[in-house]
Structure formats: C-alpha cells, structure tokens
Amino acid sequence: MTEAEHLSIAIVGSGGAGALTSGNLLLEAATAAGWYGLLTRTVGPQIRGGEAAALIRLANRPVECLADQFDLLIGVDWLNADRFGAEIEVGPHSLVISDPRSGELPAFVKNSGIRVVEIPLKEITKSIPEGRPNMIALGIAAKLVGLNEEVFTALIEKRFAEKGRVASQASRAALQAGFAAAADIQFDKRLAPPVAGKKRWLVSGNEATGLGAIRGGVRFAAAYPITPASEILEWLAPRLAKVGGVLLQAEDELASINMIIGASFGGTPALTATSGPGLSLMIEALGLATAAEIPIVVVDVMRGGPSTGIPTKSEQADLNIAVYGFHGDAPHLVLAPQSIGDCLFTAQWAAYLAEALQAPAIVLSDQFLGQTVAAIERPADVAFIGERIRHAGADAPYQRYALAANGISPMAIPGMRGAQYTAEGLTHSERGTPTSGAAAHRVQLDKRRDKLEQFTFGDHWATIEGKGEIAVITWGSLTGAVREAIELAGRDGIAVRLVAPRLLLPVQNVRFAAALDGVKRILVVEQSHSGQFYRYLRAHYDLPGEVRVLHRPGPFPIRPSEIHKAIAEWRK
C-alpha cells in the first residue's frame, strides 16, 4: 500500500446513468474530508441521453490541472465510452472496474491490457429497492481512494432531500454496497493525508468569475447564452438581483455589449460574458467603448474554434482576436486568469482596471477553467473595487475628453447638472464634438494609448516563480500544468523559471525583460494550433536565447508530463 499525493478517477456512463452525480459527490466528500481536487465533466454533444464522464483528481494539496493518467476507471456502463478514449489515459498500474453485464469494454481499455475487476453493479442494485448502479460505483471509488462512509451521510441527505426519504435511503444503501464490494478489490494506493490548509471552497471558474465581477463592483450584466459561458450568467442573474444589480438576457451579442456600454455610460460598472463567436460579434462595439472611453468588462470563456468549433471543450485560440481584433488603433486591456481560484481575482481586477482606466477589458478564461469544479483554498481578499474618476462639477465648461497628465479624463454621469456631453464614437475634440481633423485624431489616439501605458499595474501583471536559466512562458489555464511540470523537472535537478503574464495588454516590456533576466532557453507552452501566444510574444517582447514552442490545439489540455518531457529532452 502506497500513499499517493494525488489520485485520479474517471467515472463514465451513458446519459442518465449518473456518472456526473457520482463524481460530484466524490469530490464533495473528499473536500469535506480535507482533501483538495477538481472535477472536469466531459460530455457528448447531446443535450440528453449522451455519454458522460466525470474526470476527477483528488490530492493532498491544491491542484490546478488534471493528471496525466487515471489510476481508477469505473464504468457504470460502457455505452459509447470509446469516445473518451483520447481523454482518459490509463497506464499499466491503473485499475478498471467493470460490470460484466454493462456492455463490452471500450477498445482503449481492452487494448491497454490493464487489470480489470468485474463487479456486477446492476446485479447488486437489484437487492436494493430504488438503488442505482452509479451510487455503488461511488461507494467503490470512495473506498478505494480511502474515504470513509460517514463523510457521505450529510452530502446524500442534502442532495436527495428533494427526492424524498426513499431515494436518500436507497442511495445510502447502494453506497454501502459499493463500500462492501470494494473490500476485496486489490488496489495498492491510498490518498496521503491532506496537508492542513485554510478554509476550503468548492467552486467552478465560471462561478468564481461571477463573484469576482460583483466584488469588483459590477452591478449590471447583459448577455446572450453561449456554451461554455452560460454558467457565469446563470450564477450572476439571481445574485446580482440580491446585491442591487440586474442581468438582462439580450437578443444577441451585439445587443449585450451595447447594453453594457449603455449601463456603464449611466454610471454602473457592467459586464458581459461570452465565448469566441460572441466575442467576434462584439468587436465593433469594443471599438466604440475604446473611442468613447466607456469602462466595460467582457469575459470570453474560450472554446475550440473557429466557428462553432467544439463548444464543450477548451482551447486558447482567441488570443489573437482579443489582442488584435479591434479595428483602428484601439488600446485596451486583456487579462487571463491562471487557475480556477484566480478567475475570481482576475475578474475583480478587470472590473477595477476597466473603471480606473475608462477602457474595455477582455478577460480570457476557457472552458477548462470555467466548467471545472475545484476544491481550493479560499482566495485571498483584495481591495480592487472599480470606481471611475468622476467629474467634480467645476464651473468651467465640461470637457469629457479633456487631456490630463495621466490621460484619464474625469467622467460626468447623466443627471449631473451642467456637464452634459455626447459620448462619441467619431473622432472628437476634447469636448467630444466630432471632427475629422488630424490634430484632434492624433491627440486622442495618444491620450488613449498613454493612459494605459502610464498606469502602474503592480506585481499582479504576471506570475513569476523560480530561478534558472530555462524559463517556461505560458498563460491562462495552462499555468497550473506548467507549474507541475516545473516541479517534476525540479525532482530531476533541473531548475526552471515560470513566467505567466496575467496582463496581456497593455504589454509590460520592462517588467517582462526583468522577468527573463539571465534566461538562456525559453519554452513557450500554449494550447493553440498556430502558436498564437508565441507570435504575440515575438511581436511584443525580446526573447533571449534559444526558444522552443510546445503548442497544439484543443480540446485536450496539455498535461504536465508533456511539458516535463519537453523540458527534459531539451536538457540533453
């Protein structure tokens, strides 16, 4: 019996088999027992009746990505499970639990030659009135990783409260049967005891984004439903109402972005959330927000693209449009959260920065961050609350776009007497009056550039960890996988530096150069087919020494071992 720092479990089943329910309960129970972990669900394209898998990683300390292999694979049934072959990698030491009456083993299991233990889930279920095989599967998984039965009692009561006592009793009985069935299964790993930590949260990136937005001062949201961003909207709608805000469902993304511009013009910090296709539709109005200097936040939960692409899976391929998509010269903010917990900070910081700089801020989250639920340490409180500089109401005629040393003009809010102005998308004078004059055009372009470039963003602009002459530069959701790879490299005696900018625009040349001081080799890691991040780095920064790029498209996240391998091979 070995104590593992982390264990990965996949529970698969056809639609309605309850694989996701089992997975969620397993993560909740493990969290309640003091462990950390995360759960990514992966589903087929069907709304109902499709296959589903809960991909879970449990650990004795915080984890931010899935592991390379699954230690335990449980099939509630195997219908269409082959579709998950590319996502669920099993190794020689993995264990598969299979019900001999639930269909043929998927090819990726059969061909791997790994150990399969047959447990008749359906047969056992027959002896439990209203019992369901997925709860037996849950019992088996729980027992094998080292959880005890008691921790589930309250969770099951809560989850099945609506369904009544029979359902709740049946679930507990099935769970017990699972624990009993697992007693004789030989599985030589147990989760190591959790390291003591702070208060835990169980939260998804999309929920954390919503909370960050509210903490940052957002009180208005308008949006059009889109996968994988809709949970942000569904989380925000009832909660915004409670904190004095409102969410409007717009008729399309063109309306969403213009609605939030309207609300912000009226003085209310505002946000929309979308995915790539929606961001494309919003681009024109993002130019308006830039020119008219209206603070707004646009969250893009990236998915596989272009076009409809893979709506349910992750990719980092909207970087180009976020950075370069605007027409004209349009300085704006682009930020990217680096973990599920960091979605909170980044959304809050974006709301703060948008308001402080009277500029649009795009937050590039992705499907993995957005829809993965993680047990994390409670994120630290930060004091970023969006508040724009308001016009004080002096006697002199108000000039909305007056030049200021820092480029930020005090903003009047409708209702303020004597400061009426027209917010303007045409090139305008300081007063806001349209002009096609070269001088005014230049002056306002300079102003909008300077206000972003002169601002002090502080240490939050990037995560910089470690020393060493090798640096891995990455961004967004891959930061966690890179961090793990660097740790693996460290065990080989290779010191590697991590540089992950959270702030992608405006670029931070001086700080970036300092972060790479002494670096001789650079590995760029990103999840895009064309190497968008690498090209972005090349365009804006000096990359000293030899540079390699590890990049591939989604939908499967680049895993720590791939990055570790790239580092190790290069060392040779």
């Binding site: 209310t268 505002a270 409708p414």
Partner: protein, 282 residues
Amino acid sequence: MEEMILTVDTQLACKPSDYRSDVKPVWCPGCGDYHVLMAFTRAFAQLAVPAEQIAVISGIGCSSRIPAYTNCYGFHGVHGRSLALASGLKVTRPDLTVVVASGDGDGYSIGGNHFLHACRRNIDMTYVVMDNRVYGMTKGQPSPTTEPDFDTAISPGGTGLSPFHPLVNALASGANFIARCFAGEPNETAAILVEAIRHPGFSFVEILSPCVTYRPDQKAWKDLVHPAPVGATNDPAKAARRIMTDDGFNIGILYRGERRPYQPKFGRQSLDPSELEQEFEI
C-alpha cells in the same frame, strides 16, 4: 436617484433653446431633420424635464447626429445598436428620460432585430425614427423602406422589393405607443413626442423626414400628409387594420397600448456582497 427628477427647473418655464447646444448640424440645408431637432427641443421644454435628466441615444446616419445638437446627455454609438445601448441605460437609470433617435437604415436594416426586441421588452423609453427612405450619409442607397422601383447606383432599376412596414412590425412586436409624424410640422410633432415620452413603456414615433438631396421627390410629402381620420385606439387588432390599410401619410397617434413597462428592480440590495461566498464554503 428618483428624487433627482424634481429639481428647481421644473418650477420654471423652460425654453426650447435651453435644450439646444451650440454645435452646428452637418445636415444639408432643407433637411427634414432640422425640424425634428426643433420638435425635440420644443417637446423637452413642454415636458420641463431638466436637460441633464434626458439622454438622447443614437446610432449612425444623418438622423443619428441629433444627440450632440441637443443640450442633453447623449450617446452617438455604433450603427444600428442604439436601442440596445439605451435599454442598458434605462434599466439601470430609471430616473432618466431616455429618447432614442434613429433612421430607416440604422433602425430597420442593421438594427432590425433590436427594434423587434425593444418593442417586445417594452422598456419605458421613446424611439424616434426619422424615415427618409434612403441612406443619406453614404450617398443614396436604398433602405428597407425605399420604394421597389427607386433607381440607385447600387440597385439599378430599383430593388424590386416591397418596403418594410415599421409601424405594423412595431405593433406585432409589442410596442406600447405608435405614432406617425411629419417633420414639416414641428409643433404637431413636438406635441406627439410629449405624449410618447409620457406614455409608459416603449413608444415608437415614425417621423417622415424628407431627404432633399437624394430624395427631392419627398418635397411633395407636405401635400400628401393629413391628420389620421380617427384617434388612437388601444385595440391592437383595430390598430393593425388601420395601419395596414392607410396610405402611409396618416399623421397622429395611432395606437396607445396598456402593457406594463419592463423595469426590473435595480438598486435594491437584500444581501451584502460579502455573504455571497458562503455558498462555496465546505
């Protein structure tokens, strides 16, 4: 913010000139939109709402230049999206009087979808479309309301398409107040704008506003317009029949609906934001 409406101004007589800025319009001499601007300022003066409590929101096109010519708060946004922008503003600032200005291209073509949904949503604001049945600012292309045989460079011999009927679409989509005006009658137009702004919910005012440059034929409109033979109805079926069968030059209030405006509660806090995190705690 409710109390902000009642400033001292409401006690004093307001003049139309109080609502006019010193910015010189870009419109051609003789453009109908000058008269619409006149009607705007007269209506605002009659309503006696302080200029800083009014927001005039627009998109792109000749008519959309109007906000800066008023002394109100204004937003000259992107093409076709003025209704969406105004909706976000009004929902979060119910204390403001929100007037949206558009044209037949901005409002019925690129902004067509927002028109339907703004009618359906029924937020308390007034939508004024200056219809001259042509794209003026881009020099004379056909708009959704252009006659099928109107010959233009981009559609030689005419589009051959039947014109879009804005009023009946507004009615079908749920607009709560529908009127047709003629720019050449600024006093009558101002009186209708006052009614439109006062009427709860989404008010739609189509103003026939001639383009003297690309549609000199529209100078004849002054002889074609006539008051609607009957007053406004609150019966959508009756209104639909009248609007569908009139000659397009009936001037007046054609429909007054009784739907409740959409105004979600905004600004009423029942939970401190710091308590939101409790749901994530394990």
